[in-house]
């Protein structure tokens, strides 16, 4: 408010500042708004409409009202299994990913020998298409003759059953997903570059130890990055697809334990030609993700710190 009065007194002002901001804001955002109108509006509305129809992708859709949604919740056991697996994966893997990525970024940010080599190594897995990585993991995580079984065999044990039994399948996939956090590490590293050195210097003068500097300087400055990571990993985890799809052939074996939401969605769309049903699944996922995201957005006021100020 104070700035508004101050600027209002400036001379040579024809438009009000608010109007000018709106015009500038729209101008700067115009490529994206145009892109949304051309590439996003139609596919989104079309899929929303399909979700109320029986539609195979080719024939004209026939309107069926809420039938797809009702069937999902009342008749479809695989849908419920997929929901459970996906939520499990999200709840377990997201905190782990944040802790690992943040922690590794802190270590990779320290001035130590071989920093470049380490950074390269941690980034490597993200360069490979997930499909190729999944194929290698099949080789490694094979219970008897995979590489992973070798140390267990040395102790005369067969080792865990990894993806072949229901108890191990989900944790195994959580473990594998942690392999590709290289991009998140980069993100945190970029965030750590942004921490002004004078904040640390000031803390040093106050005699702060490592832990209190971490808690009072590093973490607050990085909360916008954590916020980004949290939101995108919620979206990513709820759409977990390529790795389990390749490693189990999309079967969901054993006992539906590897059947994830987007795998089941994909199968409905392209195996069973139930595009309408798949669209209903997609919109449920969309609504669910949106609600979770909005809750996180609301909570952000309590824990995300923007040096540039908030609204």
């Amino acid at each position: 408010m104070a700035t508004a009065t101050a600027t209002a007194n400036l001379p040579r002002r024809r438009l009000s500042q608010g109007t000018r901001h709106t015009i500038n804001g729209l101008l700067f955002a115009s490529p994206w708004i145009f892109g949304l109108l051309v590439f996003w509006i139609y596919p989104t509305l079309a899929s929303a409409y399909y979700s109320f129809t029986k539609y195979n992708g080719v024939r004209n859709p026939t309107f069926t009202g809420l039938a797809n949604y009702i069937e999902l919740f009342t008749k479809d056991e695989e849908f419920l299994a997929a929901v459970y697996n996906t939520v499990y994966f999200a709840v377990v893997s997201i905190p782990l990913a944040i802790i690992f990525a943040f922690g590794l970024a802190m270590m990779l940010n320290a001035k130590i020998r071989g920093q470049v080599v380490y950074r390269t190594i941690y980034f490597l897995p993200t360069l490979v298409p997930e499909v190729a990585l999944a194929l290698v993991w099949i080789f490694i995580f094979t219970p008897h003759n995979g590489l992973i079984a070798a140390p267990f065999r040395a102790f005369g044990s067969r080792g865990p059953c990894w993806l072949t039994c229901a108890e191990w399948a989900r944790p195994t996939l959580v473990l594998l997903a942690l392999w590709i956090i290289g991009q998140q590490i980069i993100l945190y590293l970029a965030g750590l570059q942004d921490v002004p050195q004078d904040l640390y210097d000031a803390a040093d003068v106050d005699g702060a130890n490592f832990l209190s500097k971490f808690r009072n300087v590093t973490v607050p400055i990085l909360t916008p990055v954590v916020f980004f990571h949290l939101i995108t990993s919620v979206i990513g985890a709820l759409n977990f697809f390529a790795i389990p799809y390749i490693m189990t052939g999309g079967t969901g074996f054993p006992a539906n334990s590897t059947l994830f939401y987007s795998i089941y969605l994909y199968k409905n769309a392209f195996h069973y030609l139930e595009m309408g049903y798949a669209s209903a699944m997609a919109w449920l996922l969309f609504m669910f993700t949106l609600v979770v995201t909005l809750i996180i957005f609301r909570s952000a006021r309590l824990w995300v710190f923007y040096a540039g100020g908030e609204d």
Partner: protein, 454 residues
């Protein structure tokens, strides 16, 4: 800050360089994951019309199809040029996303290579064009083809594809391993007790009890629910075209399979299936060719692989063993076909090319090149198909081979039976009877809904 500016240009180049080399490495275990760019000759003349033929075949099969297309391009009198386009799929997928998207978008290819048992489904859903008129004008009749192949290309009286090849299933065994293990390789298993005994004798385990060489895996390769069910004298569809997986003989077959699996150890069976996910055991990496499995239920195409990969090892083929002796009727015939996708405008030209590919000339060349069997009865009588004694065994199975029920819910049915056969029954999640009844219930309800029986 300056000393550790992490993303300098130099660093960026390093990372990009690594990206390149990493991708090079990635390409090697996963050739199927990268879409092959088509290098084909683009210097075509303006007046010839180009037709695209989409196929997911690689290796030998792709080479052979390309050669047939070249011959057709030379010979055809309607002034068209067919171009082979390799369509990569998501590994492990049965779906044809690219075809579905192209048909939905109104830009389909002229020809599509389709797994024949999915043709009724694609026809039902409107993805393929009814080519009955062209086929009749060209003199295509039911009598020319084997029944099972014909039935799969016809939906509600219309012809939707022409069949290209077929195959049969039998028991392959590695005679060298048998001799070494002291199992008489001149009298391979002829009934289920002998199969179990041979499996036991040929299996090798390490100190932890894990199998290091499989005698036989009863739920791997072409040993499917269909194979065992037919072998026990069961059937999968009744006269009203209802699905009958819970046929008493099929239940009995699955009870046998379950006890067989328990004998070997379900974790060992699982280990092999897990290792071979994602197509990791294709071609030369097949446990049978590496000698890690002494016997396998498989098809005649393995004859071509035998010549290619292991010409110096001795193998034998016999009909699948059944409960009361040899069960040649355990074999079922699969195969592929060519169809004209819906929405392609010049159906006449597309059919002309299709008819050449699937006619006697195209079929003979393809099936000789790749060791499959023509679906045109007269072509299958070519002496070539009996020259190799192993292949001759498969030819003898042709008259007694069954087919999978041709229904418009083919993909759903396939997934359900794989689930019952490789997950629910082996892991004891359901009894064989429950698992099979659940399949019938779901599929028949689905068929009812789309008016299949009316």
């Amino acid at each position: 800050m300056d000393t550790q500016k992490m993303l300098s240009r130099r660093r960026f180049l390093q990372v990009s360089g690594l990206a390149t080399s990493a991708a090079l490495l990635a390409a090697c275990p996963a050739p199927a994951a990268a879409p092959a760019a088509d290098t084909g000759d683009s210097g075509a003349m303006m007046e010839t019309k180009k037709l695209e033929a989409w196929s997911r075949m690689t290796d030998l099969a792709q080479e052979s199809i390309k050669e047939i297309i070249d011959i057709y391009n030379e010979k055809n009198t309607i002034g068209v040029e067919v171009e082979f386009v390799y369509i990569a799929r998501t590994a492990g997928s049965q779906a044809d996303e690219k075809l579905l998207t192209a048909v939905a978008g109104g830009t389909p290819p002229a020809l599509h290579y389709a797994d024949r048992f999915t043709v009724p489904q694609f026809a039902h859903e409107g993805f393929f064009t009814d080519i009955t008129d062209f086929a009749e004008a060209a003199g295509v009749t039911k009598e020319l083809y084997f029944d099972f192949a014909w039935d799969e290309t016809v939906y509600k009286g219309g012809i939707y594809a022409l069949s290209f090849d077929t195959d049969t299933r039998a028991l392959w065994y590695n005679m060298d391993i048998m001799d070494e293990a002291g199992v008489d390789s001149s009298s391979p298993p002829s009934n289920l007790d002998e199969l179990r005994a041979a499996t036991e004798a040929l299996t090798v385990r390490d100190d932890t009890g894990a199998v290091t060489r499989y005698g036989f895996n009863p739920i791997y390769d072409q040993a499917w629910l269909y194979t065992w069910g037919f072998g026990f004298g069961g059937s999968f569809q009744d006269d009203d075209r209802r699905i009958t997986f819970a046929h008493p003989q099929n239940i009995e077959a699955m009870q046998f399979v379950k006890s067989f699996i328990d004998e070997i150890g379900v974790e060992d069976i699982d280990a092999m299936l897990a290792a071979c996910a994602g197509g990791n055991c294709r071609g030369e990496n097949d446990y049978f060719w590496t000698g890690q499995s002494a016997m396998t239920c498989s098809g005649n195409w393995k004859v071509a692989q035998h010549h290619r990969y292991k010409p110096d090892t001795n193998y034998g083929v016999v009909p699948m063993p059944g409960p009361d002796g040899p069960a040649p009727h355990a074999s079922w015939a699969g195969g592929w076909s060519w169809a004209v996708p819906f929405g392609y405008d010049d159906v006449e030209s597309a059919f002309d090319a299709c008819f050449y590919l699937c006619g006697p000339e195209g079929q003979l060349k393809y099936n000789k090149d790749t060791f499959h069997i023509p679906t045109i009865k007269s072509a299958a009588e070519d002496p070539f198909f009996r020259e190799d004694p192993l292949h001759a065994v498969f030819m003898d199975l042709l008259p007694v081979s069954h087919a999978r029920p041709p229904i418009p819910l083919g993909s759903k049915l396939w997934d359900l039976q794989v689930k019952a056969f490789r997950d629910e029954i082996p892991h004891g999640l359901k009894t064989p009877e429950e698992a099979l009844m659940d399949i019938d219930e779901e599929i028949n309800a689905g068929l009812e809904e789309i008016g299949f029986f009316s």
